[in-house]
Amino acid sequence: MNTVFFASVIADLYSEAGAPLPTVDRPLVPLSDLMGAYDLTCTELTGLTSATAIQELLRRGGIVEPPERLSHERLAGFIYTAAHIGAIFVERADYLVRRRFSVAHELGHYLLHFRPLLQAGESDEPSVYEAMEAIPFSSSEAEPDQMPVGRMTFTRPAQSTASQKSFRDMEREANQFAGELLMPKEIVQGLVEHHARAAHGEDLIWRIATDMLVSRSAMRWRLRFLGLL
């Protein structure tokens, strides 16, 4: 998957949601509206773990039988999908900028990995139906260039298909998707031009990150990726 592919998935996402594209004057990405185009929910939970997320799904009728081996490790984000329907959870106590990145990361998994795989399974193989991914919680601002690395769980038949692509690749793709979605190249370039006269270095990163509601580490990573830093 390359930048062109991500751009086409993101264009489809905007078109499906009927949402306006961000501009330099209005650079915030309407995450909630974009997710609203699909059978996808987003819930904030305090003390998020795989177990509390599944408990919430049980309580709300989202699952009838809980998956086995649930972890109590503290998480920043979690997604559970049954066929084409998904539920994203984020830690309520996390920073807003990181909550947004966690949501975008899980949305990336949903669109790039889970939905295509599980939708195919829905019609052919009735036993291919569930997938989960969890992003561990990091209590401090992430180190520069350090992007979240989650863990995936598929049901056994899906596991064999999924393993054709390594989990590490899928994590990298979800992060790149989140970066491209939350920090579109044209908008970042426009904001760099706008702020460059008055700010440099960390100050510039901070200003653009604040405009786009992302963390400084995510913006630093994006600027480096675009060759703007």
């Binding site: 499906e16 949601a17 009927g18 509206d33 609203g36 185009a37 699909y38 059978d39 996808l40 929910t41 819930t43 003390g47 773990t49 177990a51 509390t52 599944i54 408990q55 799904l57 049980l58 309580r59 709300r60 009728g61 989202g62 699952i63 009838v64 039988e65 809980p66 649930l70 109590h72 049954a82 066929a83 329907i85 539920a87 829905e122 009735p126 036993s127 139906y129 569930e130």
Partner: protein, 209 residues
């Protein structure tokens, strides 16, 4: 004619016995004593009234879980309940195949609000209006389709309640999907187990020769 007081006395005794069992059950839940929990659930298999009481207690218990230990315990209890009292979790193929309706979602919203002890004027009004609705939900539960659904129903709701309705509809659809697929997977495994073993298995022919 003296039969009636005797019957009443018998009913009272049975009910008292049930309440004692229920007390034993709720105490065991609080202590995390799953042996007692399993024993009570086993007992409830033959008593529909006790079964209903146990399921009600469990619904309250599940809604009250906050700490990690409580979540863990609630998950164990959920599994025990499904094992011992499957009738409380009726998921027939017919039920799972029936399209979800606006009324289903309204009923769920009402139950969830009641379980939390919430008094929400808008939710009460909407659920009252829509509970009997047999209108099928759109196949795709996008924000746009839900907005359009409310317009078609002629019901004016806030963005907050629209989101709550949509989330609830998605959770219910997800539950049915998971139930349907688990049922299909179980059927598939059962078929595999029941398939007659091919007599001419590799190795056997060689042994005959």
């Amino acid at each position: 004619m003296q039969q009636q007081p005797q019957n009443n006395a018998h009913r009272d005794e049975t009910q008292l016995a049930r309440e004692k069992v229920l007390f034993r059950y709720s105490s065991a839940l609080q202590r995390g004593d799953f042996d007692i929990v399993a024993a009570v659930l086993h007992e409830a298999q033959d008593d529909p009234v006790l079964e209903r009481m146990v399921l009600d207690i469990n619904a309250i218990y599940t809604d009250d879980t906050n700490t990690q230990a409580e979540v863990e315990a609630a998950t164990v209890v959920q599994r025990l309940l499904q094992e011992h009292l499957p009738s409380g979790f009726v998921q027939t193929q017919e039920h799972l195949e029936t399209p979800l309706t606006v009324g289903d979602v309204a009923a769920r919203l009402q139950t969830e609000a009641a379980a939390k002890g919430q008094v929400d004027g808008e939710i009460s009004k909407i659920t009252g209006q829509l509970r009997a609705s047999q209108t099928a939900l759109p196949t795709k539960l996008s924000q746009h389709n839900i907005r359009q659904l409310f317009e078609e129903l002629g019901v004016n709701v806030s963005r907050r309640v629209q989101k709550l309705f949509r989330d609830t509809a998605i959770f219910l659809a997800m539950g049915r999907t998971q139930g349907r697929m688990r049922m299909a997977a179980t059927r598939q495994q059962k078929q595999l187990r029941e398939e007659p073993i091919d007599e001419a298995q590799p190795g056997q022919d060689e042994a005959r020769q």
